[in-house]
Amino acid sequence: MNPAALIIIVVLLASAAVALSLRNLVRAALLLTVSWAGLAAFYLWAGAEFVAFAQVLVYVGAVSMVVLFAVLLTRPAPTDPPPPRATYGRVLGALLAGSAVGGLLCGAILGTPLPSSPGAPPALTVREIGRQLMGVHAAALLVAGVLLTVALLGAIVLAAAPGRRRSPDAP
């Protein structure tokens, strides 16, 4: 087992954990971007270049932007009362549930005899991926495209302030 993967994984998990425990939302989002980039690095290490770049392009490039916009658009006004801290009861319950699920998963993973073939990664060129997408999975690709379009429109409709009109002197 090589150190690079370990480093990547540690960075990934640590940044994710810290990010989600921060109170400052902007910092949380930025740190989470780091963990997403770490995920991309992991893909790269695993030899899935295309997926890695797609991950960076989508998450670091787009999703983080959307999150930041959302954060800034939903910032509480300075007059609002500061939100109460999360009750320990719920945090405790969350930790319990999380640890239960995690323990279960770890047990399952360690308990099952997994095939270990640390050979070369399956040779997969971008051309091949393109063939697959356009050939076997063409229908799925189309559906995904439709889904994205609809989601975009829906997001615009949802986020648009009701009853806003262009100012008359806007050219």
């Binding site: 719920r90 319950g93 969350a94 549930a97 999380g98 239960a100 699920v101 279960l104 399952a108």
Partner: protein
């Protein structure tokens, strides 16, 4: 090129397209509507002319083009087109006269707001009439027939904001409907007994020998031959459409429409339809002549009705003061002549007169329209007068028309066609009464036409409207000129010396006679005409009317008769007193039954229903509801209990999902994955 029967449908189609265009053009699209209408009529005329050579080549044949309209399982309803001299000559006449009238309307309706609507209706009218002329199926004929009725309704009521116009339109429609009912019955009966409605179908049509003999052979109630009964029923339709005696009342009222419409109705399209119908089904009408012991022949009835109408129309026309009403009643009487000719068995003469009459009557109406247009819609001849000097062209053409209608000898077409009718009536061997009536009518016709011309054009103007009149524009006078020429020349197609028309229509050569064959009768009629003209000259022309209120000479002589005639023999009042009163009484009776009789029963049932409803409601509220309420309470309580777990807290749900996942996996693990 010559067109055959396959293309003849173009004749009615073109004006129909024009009507469609007109109906789709906005109100300001005057040029488009009028242009399309006139172009369409010209096109129809051209198509008819192109079809002429093919017809003249063999005049005895009926070219037909039949097709299935829709399938009835056992056999199909078939429609078709026919092309024969009768229909085609009518087509030529209708499209030509119609074209001129359209052009005239350009000037006459110029100020009207609903110009486009007017031309749309006109095109519809013409298209329906043309379709009726080339229809080869009584059903198709009937469809066009009803379309003619509809279009006439729309056009007579064109100025519907005037109550009189609306009433006249309604009257025309309803009166003709009465006749159409007869036609419909006859058609149904015909279909029942022959199984087809095609006129000519290569030996299977209703107008062909096999069917006719069959129809004439079987008899029905009162020993009437079936053909007679059907013929009479069909004749009812003709009576209604072309204003024969019992149902002529709508025709004078139709004057409420714009004058071009009156011209179209009286000359070319509507009233001609009835005559044409009888001429078309003439074989059917005359099928029973062979039957010896028939109580009455269809044609006999036709002849007597025609003669009666001719005489009556002439008499009433004498005493009318409205320029258009005079012409209207003259139309009634001329149609009577045509029916007379049909009745006495010479349908050729009838068609001859129909054609000539179309020309000069259109001429007269358009002349009257020109007068009315010039005199700012003044129609009362007592308030007109002295227009001859101001409107020279209108005057001359109008005189030509008057001469033709009066039957002034040798030069004018009306003379020849009328002579033909009188000859036919003279040769009729059933009775000589119609001939006498017709002759009387001839004299009267000459008389009242003279009166009309004298009152309108001579003397001094008796109202400032007439005083300031001036000649109409060329778009109105040029059609007058063309029609005048036509109403002079058309007569020579059918003179005894050169009976081109007769031989063409009959499909076999008619032997030529000298121009003055049957001289005695001709002398007599000429004499009568002269007397009529002379009397008119003596009474009205020699010393013209002085003032508007001056009494009419005849009125001075025999006031009661004149009043009676002026009131159109009180026929409208008679109908009002009898038919309409009866209808009202019937309606009142029905109303009474409805209110008192049936309604009471209905109310009783309703009360019953209300009572039962109340009863059941009480039982519900007292008995059943208690139980249901109790159950409902339980259910609601349960719902409240369960809904407590529904906190709306997303975290809660998520937590539940996670824990449930854990539990399930644990259970599966304990179960060993099985």
């Amino acid at each position: 090129m010559t067109l055959g029967v396959e293309q003849i449908f173009l004749v009615p189609l073109l004006p129909l397209v024009a009507a469609a265009i007109g109906s789709l053009t906005p109100r300001r699209g005057r040029a488009l509507a009028a242009g399309s209408a006139i172009t369409a009529m010209a096109g129809a005329l051209i198509v008819s002319c192109l079809a002429l050579p093919g017809v003249l080549a063999e005049t005895s044949a009926h070219q037909v083009a039949n097709f299935d309209w829709f399938d009835l399982g056992a056999g199909a309803v078939r429609l078709g087109w026919v092309l024969d001299p009768l229909g085609l000559l009518m087509c030529l006449m209708v499209s030509f006269v119609g074209l001129l009238i359209f052009i005239f309307s350009l000037g006459y309706m110029h100020e009207d707001d609903n110009f486009t609507r007017f031309f749309c209706f006109l095109s519809l009218f013409a298209s329906a009439m043309l379709g009726l002329l080339v229809a080869n199926s009584l059903l198709l004929f009937f469809i066009c027939w009803e379309l003619v009725g509809l279009a006439s309704y729309l056009l007579i009521g064109f100025w519907f904001h005037q109550p009189s116009a609306a009433a006249a339109a309604k009257k025309a429609f309803i009166t003709t409907r009465i006749g159409d009912l007869g036609l419909l019955l006859g058609m149904v009966w015909l279909y029942h007994s022959t199984g087809t409605l095609l006129f000519y179908d290569h030996g299977h049509g209703v107008l062909e020998s096999s069917a006719l003999t069959a129809l004439a052979a079987q008899t029905t109630i009162g020993g009437l031959a079936v053909s007679t009964a059907i013929g009479l029923l069909i004749f009812c339709g003709a009576v209604g459409k072309s204003g024969q005696f019992p149902l002529h009342v709508w025709l004078p009222d139709a004057m409420e429409g714009p004058t071009p419409v009156s011209a179209l109705i009286h000359a070319a399209t509507m009233v001609a339809a009835g005559v044409f119908l009888i001429a078309r089904v003439f074989p059917l009408m005359s099928a029973d002549l062979g039957v010896g012991n028939a109580p009455v022949h269809a044609l006999t009835v036709v002849a007597f009705i025609g003669a009666l109408t001719a005489l009556m129309g002439a008499c009433i026309a004498v005493a009318q003061n409205d320029i258009k009403r005079v012409l209207a009643f003259s139309t009634v009487s001329q149609l009577g002549y045509m029916m007379l000719a049909l009745g006495v068995g010479s349908w050729v003469a009838a068609i001859f007169h129909l054609l000539t009459h179309a020309f000069f009557k259109a001429l007269l109406f358009l002349g009257a329209g020109s007068v009315i247009h010039a005199a700012h819609h003044e129609q009362d001849i007592r308030r007109l007068g002295g227009l001859g000097a101001k409107m020279r062209l209108t005057f001359l053409t109008f005189v030509v028309g008057m001469m033709a209608l009066a039957g002034v000898p040798f030069l004018f077409s009306g003379f020849w066609s009328k002579e033909a009718i009188l000859h036919a009536a003279h040769d009729w061997n059933v009775s000589s009464l119609p001939l006498l009536m017709g002759l009387t009518g001839v004299g009267l016709t000459a008389f009242y036409m003279t009166r009309l011309v004298a009152e309108t054009f001579r003397g001094q103007p008796r109202s400032d409207a007439a005083g300031h009149a001036h000649e109409s524009p060329a778009v109105m006078t040029v059609p007058l000129l063309l029609l005048a020429v036509g109403s002079v020349l058309l007569g020579f197609l059918g003179t005894p010396a050169w009976p081109w028309l007769q031989s063409t229509l009959l499909g076999h050569e008619v032997e030529r006679e000298s121009l003055f064959a049957g001289g005695g009768l001709m002398m007599l009629s000429i004499l009568l005409v002269a007397i009529g003209l002379g009397a008119g000259w003596a009474l009205y022309l020699r010393r013209g009317r002085r003032s508007e209120s001056a009494a009419d000479p005849i009125a001075a002589a025999a006031p009661r008769t004149f009043a009676f005639l002026g009131a159109r023999m009180k026929l409208d009042e008679l109908y009002g007193a009898t038919v309409i009163a009866a209808a009202d009484a019937l309606a009142a009776l029905a109303d009474f039954c409805d209110r008192r009789g049936w309604d009471g029963a209905v109310r009783f049932v309703a009360q019953l229903g209300v009572f039962t409803g109340l009863a059941s409601r009480d039982t519900d509220e007292e008995g059943l509801n208690q139980g249901f309420n109790a159950v409902g309470e339980r259910l609601r309580g349960a719902g409240r209990f369960y809904s407590r777990s529904q906190t709306g807290e997303t975290h809660g749900y998520l937590l539940t999902v996670a824990l449930a996942f854990v539990v399930i996996v644990v259970l599966v693990a304990i179960g060993g994955g099985r």
